[in-house]
């Protein structure tokens, strides 16, 4: 049973809202539907529906009949005429539920990952927060953890530049294998697992560009304010900047290995054959990156077309192997 995709709230999510809305309403005394919706970041109508449901819910009581005293109650006039919620009678629950083992694990693993950020270098504060989460959990947290293996030395410097709104410059080895000195307005540091990226306004290209931190060197803070701000430019959703010079490359690989090239947004061509092999096309910024990708997936991925790409890969691998001759 897979999670339903999209924004649809599942019954379990709705139950969580109901169980957390009650203590919130108790603490608020009186709150407008609008404010509650904003607080929980849901649609106002959603809050109205839940409040109505809470107001007619309760416990079977001694009689098993759900008598009025066994039910929650609200000031209905205020609710229906003024969109205001005032809880006047409550039953059974009054405080926030504890976290589940999986909920606590998701937050704890997230915190472990964040400890790579220079802002979170206060290990003791993070450790005490994790301990607090564990105490507030009804089950043992799931055994999920993220190792702190990020060693991007430039994160603090770039993070500082983003915060102070200062330009930076650095040597960049592009995905095409070209070395260039770049001057940029740093806007945001993105990370995906152990890969770190800078989203920045590039003065050379005059557009928003994504730079891999492990392709940058000699990073310097410039004594000049940024010219574009994160608010005025659109940061593309995707981390990879396409270009008109990109080439389409046809690859063959087992369908079970597709996740290995997911970063390159492979487009399937036809169905898998009897051996489970599929053909996909990817967009490649020249062959500089492609030959590295394919050589790193030995025995898995094969370039089918264009022929030039196939030759480049063959020569790249042969040259690499030649270095070991006679060893």
């Amino acid at each position: 049973m897979a999670d339903k995709p999209g924004q649809l709230l599942r019954a379990s999510d709705k139950l969580t809202y109901l169980l957390t809305l009650v203590p919130y309403l108790i603490a608020q005394n009186r709150v407008s539907v609008t404010d509650a919706a904003e607080h929980f970041q849901v649609e106002p109508q959603q809050i109205r529906d839940w409040v109505k449901l809470i107001a007619i819910s309760g416990i079977p009581g001694d009689t098993g009949q759900y008598l009025p005293d066994d039910l929650f109650d609200i000031v209905w006039d205020d609710f229906e005429n003024n969109d205001q919620i005032v809880l006047t009678h409550r039953v059974a629950i009054e405080y926030t539920p504890k976290f589940s083992g999986k909920e606590a694990a998701a937050l704890i693993a997230g915190l472990q990952y964040l400890s790579a950020l220079p802002e979170q270098s206060d290990r003791e504060a993070v450790a005490s927060l994790m301990a607090k989460l564990t105490r507030g959990t009804s089950q043992t947290p799931s055994e999920v953890a993220v190792a702190d293996t990020v060693h991007e030395r430039d994160v603090p410097l770039i993070g500082d530049a983003v915060k102070r709104g200062l330009q930076i410059e650095f040597d960049y080895l592009s995905a095409r294998g070209e070395h260039e000195r770049r001057i940029v307005d740093p806007l945001r540091i993105d990370s995906t697992d152990n890969s770190w990226y800078l989203r920045a306004w590039c003065h050379l290209r005059e557009s928003v560009r994504t730079f891999r931190l492990d392709r940058m060197s000699d990073v310097q803070l410039r004594d000049a304010p940024i010219t574009r701000h994160a608010g005025e430019v659109v940061l593309p959703e995707t981390l990879f900047d396409g270009s008109d010079e990109d080439v389409n490359v046809l690859l063959e690989l087992p369908s079970t290995a597709l996740s290995l090239i997911a970063d390159f947004a492979p487009e399937p061509v036809g169905e898998a054959d009897a051996d489970g092999l599929v053909h996909v096309t990817i967009r490649a910024a020249g062959f500089h990156g492609l030959k590295r990708l394919v050589a790193g997936l030995s025995g898995v991925v094969r370039v089918v077309a264009p022929d030039e790409a196939r030759t480049v890969v063959a020569e790249w691998a042969s040259a690499g192997a030649a270095a070991y001759e006679g060893v």
Binding site: S12, P60, S100, Q139, A147, L173, R292, A319
Partner: protein
């Protein structure tokens, strides 16, 4: 079988909500029959002196759902051994967040960011629910930490079934391709921990055939993860932290000596991983946890990197490159290994 045409059944969340309220309110607990007869959402469908098998199954599923959500459902047995006499309740102390647990605005900011790290999958749903709970404490996050968009991915389809099995102490089986091997082998495992190390998700667990604890790369699990129907005793805690410590120790104990071409991708990117190495060093030493994985990575650099030691890594990289060259040679023509071709 027909259900009596009373009212349409209320939405699922209403039934679950009523169940939680009823079980928190009761001191001595409610039997299954009492629940089905009186609690909103069940009572409408209850058939007096009739067949309630469907409703009973519904209750079993609801119990699982509540436990999955962390609602501490207790079974108070009256020792008659009769399942029908078991009483269910939710202890308020186990259910509610202790009054002493509060979070500062700074902590709330950090927790919101930690939740945002998960963009997809079940961990994302879990962290959203946790944040909803925190919101009921009337906490407003402080200024968001601007300038960062950190993200953890769970691309491996094995992750969710493994976590589910791990949380329920269920033995699983799957087909696994060992790094460096090509053919998969069946593994039967008691899952103990899921960790991300160096950007990769790994499973640690007891491999029942090997009779030992083993660590598996999720990306190399090539079949669906199947529950075997067997379970194992609760294994205690600390497995995730221990697994990371073991991987760290492994990383420190394995090192490779490499020669890299000046100004190349290999030099720039590999030198960052080598402690105490300058960016322009031509001879660098990197640590690794898995020789086959490092060999894959190094093969990608082609002639830009040459393995000096260990020999096993040298052979692994050369074999990979020969395989790639062969797979990409002209049809009908063997790879020309003496071409000495350079970057195209």
């Amino acid at each position: 079988m027909t259900t009596p045409a009373k009212k349409p059944p209320p939405p699922v969340e209403e039934r679950l909500f009523s169940l939680v309220l009823a079980l928190v309110a009761t001191r001595i607990g409610l039997t299954k029959n009492e629940i089905l007869q009186t609690v909103q959402g069940y009572s409408q469908r209850y058939v007096h002196s009739g067949d309630n098998e469907n409703l009973e199954r519904q209750f079993e599923r609801d119990k699982d759902e509540l436990r999955d959500l962390g609602v501490p459902l207790e079974v108070v047995d009256d020792h008659t051994g009769n399942n029908h006499d078991a009483r269910y309740r939710i202890s308020k102390d186990d259910y509610e967040l202790p009054a002493g647990i509060t979070f500062t605005p700074d902590e709330m900011t950090l927790l919101s960011l930690a939740a945002m790290v998960w963009k997809e999958g079940s961990l994302s749903a879990d962290s959203r629910r946790a944040i909803t709970k925190l919101r009921s404490l009337d906490l407003h996050p402080d200024e968001p930490i601007i300038g960062y968009a950190p993200q953890l991915r769970v691309r491996d389809s094995a992750f969710e079934p493994l976590q589910r099995a791990m949380d329920r102490y269920q033995v699983v089986s799957f087909d696994y391709v060992k790094p460096g091997a090509t053919a998969p082998g069946r593994r039967t495992v008691e899952p103990l921990a899921l960790v991300q190390h160096d950007g990769r998700w790994l499973l640690n667990g007891n491999d029942l055939e090997a009779g030992a604890r083993r660590t598996f790369l999720l990306s190399r699990i090539v079949s669906p993860v199947r529950a075997t129907g067997k379970s194992f005793p609760a294994p205690g805690s600390g497995h995730a932290d221990r697994t990371i410590e073991e991987l760290d120790a492994l990383l420190r104990s394995n090192s490779a000596e490499l020669r890299v071409t000046p100004g190349s991708d290999a030099q720039l990117r590999l030198s960052r991983r080598a402690e105490g190495t300058t960016a322009d060093a031509e001879s660098i030493t990197v640590n690794y946890t898995d020789l086959a994985l490092l060999a894959d990575e190094l093969a990608g650099y082609g002639p830009e990197v040459q393995v000096v030691a260990p020999d096993e890594l040298q052979r692994a990289v050369r074999d990979r490159l020969l395989l790639v060259a062969e797979a990409h040679a002209e049809p009908g023509r063997p790879a020309d290994l003496r071409g000495g071709a350079t970057d195209g």
